[in-house]
Amino acid sequence: MNGMAGIVAKVDGWIQGTAIGVYQYFTLAGRASRFIVARPFYWRDALRQMDRMGVGTLPILLLTGLFTGMVLALQSSVALQRFGADMYVGSLVGVSMVRELGPVLAALIFAGRVGSGIAAEIGSMRVTEQLDALQSFGTDPIKKLVTPRIIAGVSMLPILTIVTNAVGIFGGLVVTVYAVGISADVYLSGVWSTLAQSGFIFGVFPRDFVVGLAKPLVFGGVIALTGCYYGMAARGGTEGVGLATTRAVVTASILVLVVNYFLTQLLMVLMPARG
């Protein structure tokens, strides 16, 4: 009976801890969002974070996008050649990159690099009393640290996703032209015709492209917020900072994948594809 009671107590403790954690997460999100329109604005901090997140993550995303596009073109060409449909490599690479691979890959890389960085930085500030020091000077750490990072995450990840998509499509082009032997014109017209097929938003932007950008907007906020949450909750010295960093990356990555599914469902309702 004692063993059973112990298990029940543990489960109870876990549920309570999780519920409190979720509540604190959304409270942090609410306060950080409110401060976007409340003085003082820490625009300089936001710009610095944009530089760190955007420029800092660009090289690794260039590589990721390039090789993902190349592999996608290589694999799909082998399968499509069996049916004599290798001229559709461009369509497949284009739609895969823009709809799913670009946003999700960029977000996962972003979570690994930026989410961990945020959690480690804020966690270190927590355990070395720098957050207390900020508060002692009348500064709200959420306004000073969390809000600028969320602004930076929300604004930078869509831009990085566009770059990832473009580089991925370019990688596919290189492989298609030099390894598969299909002309660049055929490849690029395949990319464009598939994107155009899903319809246009405001008559100008391909629907798939807009949907592909709506996702990183949300992912950027989720990743930055998760990093900040775990950083601010860090306890117990360097070990605590390490733990916070790991948790931030794992949670942010899982959230990206889960949110991606529900967001896709939502966007299919809000912006249905033509035909």
Binding site: S124, T128, E129, Q130
Partner: protein
């Protein structure tokens, strides 16, 4: 003078304070006639009052702590490590709120303050943290300038003037240290930059959390001199939390000793030395 201790305890087991050498050392720290060096007597009104404060984390930390700090005095809060001394400072800054009891700072009960009002109150208080808590991503200049940029409308040239003045006040050469990152400073220099930052906006109250922890004896002396200089020249009200009696007695006008979550002694350093309570004697002797 002592509070909360039974008379029965007072006469028991006088320990090492009978040691004349130790008495001499502590008297040397106090200065002539047992007066703390440079410490002015409490003269003004009560600026900080804690009444019957209870606070628990995993277990009770404070159990009915009461203390008062008068304008212009330097209160030394002594106690063993991990007994809740730093918690008292965090309560005063309203970084924590008591489970029970009241904390009144500059005439306002901290529990009643909104988040924004608490931020306003903190602007009148300078805090020197145990490990200085300098912002490690910016240089010394930006560290000291931070409260000025945050809480005043001073133009940058004036901020620079104040930063240089404050660094000189703590005996640091602005030309040498301004561009340095906190990582490039020694422990003593970090503490001094922490003090310069804490006094940048001329606060009414300065709180020191273990200001001499981890420093060599010479640097401990320098930090002690600085605390006295601040009290003497700027007239700030100070609370110094430490377990380093020698350093504390140099600067204190009054001493509170905390034990088991309560203040068990309240008096001058001289009173404390004269106190024949066994715990106090043991604390003095072993510190």
């Amino acid at each position: 003078m002592s509070r909360g201790m039974g008379e029965g305890m007072r006469r028991r087991d006088r320990l090492e304070m009978d040691d004349p050498v130790l008495r001499q050392v502590i008297r040397r720290e106090l200065g002539p006639d047992g007066e703390p060096h440079g410490a002015a007597a409490a003269s003004g009104q009560v600026v900080i009052r804690m009444e019957d404060v209870h606070l628990s984390f995993d277990q009770p930390v404070l159990r009915g702590t009461s203390l008062e700090v008068h304008e212009g005095e330097t209160l030394l809060v002594l106690g063993e490590s991990g007994i809740g001394k730093s918690t008292i400072l965090k309560l005063i800054l309203r970084l924590l709120v008591p489970d029970q009891g009241s904390v009144t700072v500059l005439g306002r009960e901290t529990r009643d303050l909104s988040f924004e009002e608490a931020l306003d109150m903190r602007r009148k208080i300078g805090m020197v943290f145990q490990n200085a808590a300098l912002f490690d991503s910016v240089n010394v200049y930006d560290n000291v300038a931070y409260p000025l940029r945050e809480n005043t409308d001073l133009p940058e040239p004036q901020i620079e003037t104040v930063v240089r003045e404050r660094l000189e006040f703590v005996d640091l050469d602005p030309e040498t240290v301004c561009e340095k990152l906190p990582d490039e400073l020694s422990g003593g220099m970090k503490k001094r930059v922490g003090i310069a930052r804490a006094i940048a906006t001329d606060p009414q109250i300065v709180l020191y959390d273990e200001p001499t922890a981890g420093l060599d004896p010479l640097t401990v002396g320098t930090i002690g001199d600085l605390i006295q200089k601040l009290q003497r020249e700027l007239g700030v009200t100070s609370i110094v939390v430490t377990h380093d009696i020698r350093a504390g007695f140099r600067v204190a006008s009054r001493v509170n000793l905390i034990r088991d979550g309560q203040i068990v002694f309240d008096g001058t350093p001289e009173d404390m030395i004269a106190e024949d309570d066994a715990y106090i004697q043991r604390f003095l002797a072993l510190s």
